[in-house]
């Protein structure tokens, strides 16, 4: 169906309109179909990615969106080597984003910084600098990250309007509420379920307290009645529940910390989504 519409539009629009249609598919989020269109455009240009850099960049982005990071990385890499100025800088930003997705934060920051140094337009330069600064935040270096973003705001570039708010939000990462896995595990060891409750998981804590209390009661009762098999079974089960409860206290703290961090990262992402689209001329 989409292919028929594409063919009809191309016939109606005439030659030269195909990249516009591919861009429309790309903007609509139809990355699979857009990638096919960009590949066709590349084929028509003799497979030379540097001859149609805009289509090549978007093809790499399509692959990235379609979960083919290595293909995207290869194409971005080729473009970053072959293109000068803003084209190469845009490809380096793409490399940084793929490495970021692959959790290669050091490599990602290096690519973003490289993009910033190569960019000719202030907009691309600021994007590279802000993203490089955000990689520090990914590593928990909130204050350093905020300082670098603040420096971007001080330059007065295209992102100067968004940067102060972003810097403030990143700086708040240093004050995120946290719970110590060790102390929550210790608390659960002293009073079963208390570590979970300290992390806000009251139901989990009450269940852990109840189960451990019940197991202790059954163990004492079976020992008092001198029932060896029942004592061994309840002893083994009780110890397992108790160990699980201590582990659960520590795990609840880790979950609590991860959740607070995740919430902040999501707020930062929302703020980044509000940054105006790139201005200036990309290939």
């Amino acid at each position: 169906m989409l292919g028929t519409i594409a063919a009809a539009l191309l016939i109606a629009a005439g030659p030269g309109a195909d990249e516009g249609f591919a861009d429309w598919l790309y903007a609509s989020g139809e990355f699979s179909t857009a990638a096919s269109e960009y590949l066709r455009i590349l084929y028509e240009n003799g497979g030379d990615t540097l001859a149609v850099p805009g289509a090549s960049l978007r093809l790499a982005r399509c692959w990235q969106e379609l979960g083919r990071p290595l293909d995207a990385l290869g194409l971005y890499d080729r473009l970053s080597i072959g293109l000068d100025g803003d084209g190469g800088a845009a490809a380096l930003l793409g490399i940084g984003s793929v490495l970021e997705e692959m959790d290669r934060i050091d490599g990602s920051r290096a690519a973003y910084l490289d993009a910033a140094s190569r960019a000719e337009s202030p907009d691309l330069r600021d994007r590279g600098l802000v993203l490089a600064a955000l990689m520090l935040a990914r590593e928990g270096r909130w204050e350093e990250s905020a300082a670098e973003i603040g420096a971007v705001a001080g330059r007065g570039g295209p992102l100067a309007g968004s940067a102060p708010g972003l810097a403030g939000m990143v700086a708040s990462g240093a004050d995120l509420p946290s719970r110590s896995p060790f102390w929550c595990g210790f608390a659960s060891a002293v009073l079963p379920g208390s570590g979970q409750m300290l992390c806000g998981n009251v139901t989990d804590g009450l269940i852990a307290l109840g189960v451990n209390g019940a197991m202790a009661f059954l163990l004492v009762e079976s020992i008092r009645r001198e029932e060896v098999a029942a004592s061994v079974l309840t002893g083994w089960l009780g110890l397992s529940f108790y160990g699980g409860n201590v582990y659960g206290g520590a795990r609840a703290a880790e979950g609590y910390n991860a959740a607070r961090r995740r919430e902040l990262l999501e707020r930062i992402t929302e703020l980044l989504e509000e940054v105006p689209s790139a201005s200036g001329s990309l290939p």
């Binding site: 990914r138 852990a208 397992s240 609590y256 959740a259 992402t269």
Partner: protein, 121 residues
């Protein structure tokens, strides 16, 4: 007991067989017990777990990875967390498309990619 055996005989061929891709296969006694647990609670009694992967799969993985002692503790800990009150406020990352709360044995890293938000193309 007789009724239970009849139920086992009447169970479909797929009973007890892990239906979720990536679920561990059966190899040892513990794995067979976990499969029996799934057969009884999931297939025959229709019980559903609040988490993904389910508690039995989680326990099976924990025992396979950390051995029977630590694995049992982790399995029982997960079992005590599996109740109707599981909500997003517990520190879990929302709910999956199947409505269950993702809680793998080894949590995945952060999936945030800020680079995509600021790509100029």
């Amino acid at each position: 007991m007789t009724l239970f055996l009849l139920l086992l005989l009447a169970a479909p061929d797929t009973a007890g067989v892990p239906s979720v891709p990536g679920e561990p296969g059966e190899s040892g006694i513990a794995d067979v017990l976990f499969a029996e647990y799934r057969l009884l609670f999931r297939d025959l009694l229709g019980r559903t777990c609040a988490f993904s992967p389910s508690c039995s799969v989680y326990g099976q993985e924990a025992m396979g990875t950390y051995g029977p002692v630590l694995g049992t503790m982790m399995a029982l800990e997960r079992w005590t967390r599996c109740h109707g009150g599981v909500s997003d406020s517990h520190g879990y990352a929302g709910r999956g498309p199947d409505g269950r709360v993702p809680d793998p044995l080894r949590p995945a890293g952060e999936t945030t990619c800020w680079g995509r938000s600021l790509l100029p193309f």
